[in-house]
């Protein structure tokens, strides 16, 4: 299994131009951070706390998540498009293991990027911006905000697996990502408006930050209004069930399908 994961990580490095992603993302982030710090009106400069949490929301919640979806989906779809899937599937290794290695390496890649960027985010926040009267310990805040994102990553990667195996299309995964991300809130609102119970719908349960008592993390201005509000354990269970069901369908499909 380890060697399969090694293989997948190597292929990801080439296929998804990770080097390029790292350079562009880091450069953009630093440029934005420095511009905010040095070219803004003195009393409009954000505090370290608000810069930290805004950076995390945008980078962890959108850019890395999005890239993780692309990495995982394309690790499946590109093998089908290029025909290399044949070379994998004729090895004395079960298809379940092949797909699992893709899912796990997608998760490892995403976590590695998360660790890397959150170190950068933390350092930039405390070194460039004013951290003197932060309402919370910023290191603890940074770590907690990361932890809240991990179950969400799990769900989206399970979604990537099912899209990759069912539709063989990275485009569909990308579109679905945006649909869930933007329409999710509206649908939740609609369900709530019709006085149905929205708490079994996946979207509000992805807003795990709403359960935090950290005032920086649980900021209604940042996180939108639609937390499920049941309980953290409840939302984690919902995420787990959705992920398992989606993953299981993907694995089942991959196991049974004829490879042309």
């Amino acid at each position: 299994m380890n060697s399969l994961i090694t293989n997948e990580l190597i292929k990801t490095w080439y296929r998804n131009r990770v080097k390029m992603f790292l350079i562009v993302m880091t450069a953009l982030y630093l440029i934005i951070a420095f511009s905010l710090r040095f070219f803004m009106n003195e009393n409009a400069i954000p505090t370290a706390g608000s810069f930290l949490i805004t950076s995390q929301t945008i980078i962890n919640g959108t850019f890395l998540l999005f890239y993780g979806v692309i990495i995982t989906t394309s690790s499946i779809t590109s093998e089908f498009h290029k025909g290399t899937i044949k070379q994998l599937a004729i090895r004395p290794i079960s298809r379940v293991k092949i797909l699992a290695s893709k899912l796990i390496s997608g998760f490892i890649a995403l976590l590695a990027l998360m660790v890397l960027y959150n170190i950068v985010i933390y350092l930039v926040s405390v070194l460039l911006f004013d951290a003197s009267n932060a309402p919370e310990n910023l290191l603890v805040t940074a770590l907690t905000a990361c932890l809240y994102k991990i179950p969400v990553y799990l769900f989206y990667l399970a979604l990537s697996v099912i899209i990759g195996t069912l539709f063989k299309s990275t485009i569909i995964a990308v579109v679905l990502f945006f649909v869930i991300d933007s329409v999710g809130g509206m649908v939740t609102g609609l369900i709530t408006m019709l006085e149905w119970n929205a708490s079994y719908f996946i979207y509000p349960n992805l807003m795990l930050e709403s359960y935090s008592d950290n005032t920086l993390i649980n900021d209604p201005n940042m996180q939108g209004l639609f937390g499920a509000g049941e309980s953290l354990t409840f939302s984690l269970m919902i995420i787990l069930v959705y992920s398992l069901v989606l993953g299981a369908i993907g694995f089942f499909r991959f196991q049974r399908q004829d490879i042309a």
Binding site: N7, I10, K86, A89, I90, P92, I259
Partner: protein
């Protein structure tokens, strides 16, 4: 295990109720090169896909060195190496990275020496660290053969490997396959739709058509005691007919008299007999019945 390297029994596969492979059975012996011959659409690729578990058969058994592919998938697949249709590789990685990638998918661990040995064998040493996207089709084909041999399989399966190869590439391929069969006792199954290729490359030919087994025979055997067909044109075709009738079955087409059911060795005698009777020949054309049979089977499609 003393079992045959590959046994296929009653293999059947349908797509949307259309039977593509129909009760196909054959057996392969150790260290021989088999031509898997059939016109386009005969079901060669479909059969090969089932042999390497890309497709699930509806019915039938595939047994590799005694391991049933259905019940003992990894043991069976560990003994097969294959290139199915085009040798698709990871274009952004080098040839060596591709080989290491596939080597990591086998147990026990495949050594760097084994990889180097194969690179040497397929003559890719000079280009092995270049990205695969710079490779010619022939080079990809050779890299494909190298990756199929990493784990020292007992059976090597190549699907139309000569597609897109130039004559030099084909000669090279033939030499590799010969070496493998002789020195390492690998059983090779090469699919092709060209009879001429199987005659050049193979020890035995296995013909399928419309997914059905047609015939299996050894190439040498067939040429030593096979009957041939010859076309004759003489000063007087009318006088030649009674002479030829003494040797075999005679038919007449617009220009030639066709004599079938004779041995190749009889032809000098036939020519001598004709001239003794005062019939002189302009032309004698020897027809390969294997070619004819194949053309008949395949409705005239050949190269």
């Amino acid at each position: 295990m003393s079992s045959k390297p590959l046994i296929v029994r009653n293999l059947t596969k349908s797509f949307k109720r259309k039977t593509i492979i129909d009760d196909l059975s054959f057996e392969l012996d150790k260290g021989k090169i088999y031509g898997f011959l059939g016109p386009n659409g005969a079901g060669k690729t479909t059969t090969i896909r089932m042999l390497v578990s890309l497709l699930h058969a509806d019915k039938g058994d595939i047994i590799v060195n005694g391991y049933d592919l259905k019940k003992d998938r990894s043991n069976a697949l560990a003994r097969i190496g294959a290139v199915v249709e085009n040798p698709e590789m990871y274009n952004l990685m080098s040839g060596m990275e591709n080989l290491r990638h596939f080597a990591r998918m086998h147990k026990p661990k495949i050594s760097q020496e084994r990889i180097d040995e194969l690179v040497e064998f397929v003559e890719l040493k000079g280009a092995i660290n270049d990205k695969v996207k710079t490779y010619s089709l022939g080079m990809k084909q050779r890299l494909g053969i190298a990756q199929a041999l990493l784990h020292k399989p007992n059976v090597l399966i190549l699907d139309e490997p000569t597609n897109g190869l130039d004559p030099k590439g084909i000669r090279q391929l033939r030499a590799y396959l010969r070496t493998l069969a002789k020195d390492e006792e690998v059983t090779v199954l090469v699919s092709t739709h060209l009879l001429s290729e199987t005659e050049m490359m193979c020890d035995e030919v296995l013909i399928i058509q419309d997914g059905k087994f047609v015939k299996q025979f050894s190439v040498g055997e067939e040429s030593s005691d096979k009957t041939v067909k010859a076309l004759f044109r003489a000063t007087s075709n009318e006088e030649l007919i009674p002479v030829l009738e003494e040797f075999g079955t005679v038919e007449q087409d617009h220009k030639y008299i066709v004599l079938s059911g004779i041995q190749q060795e009889q032809i000098p005698t036939i020519i001598a007999t004709a001239s003794e009777r005062g019939v002189l020949l302009y032309e004698v054309i020897l027809k390969d019945t294997l070619e004819d049979q194949f053309l008949e089977l395949t409705g005239g499609e050949s190269a």
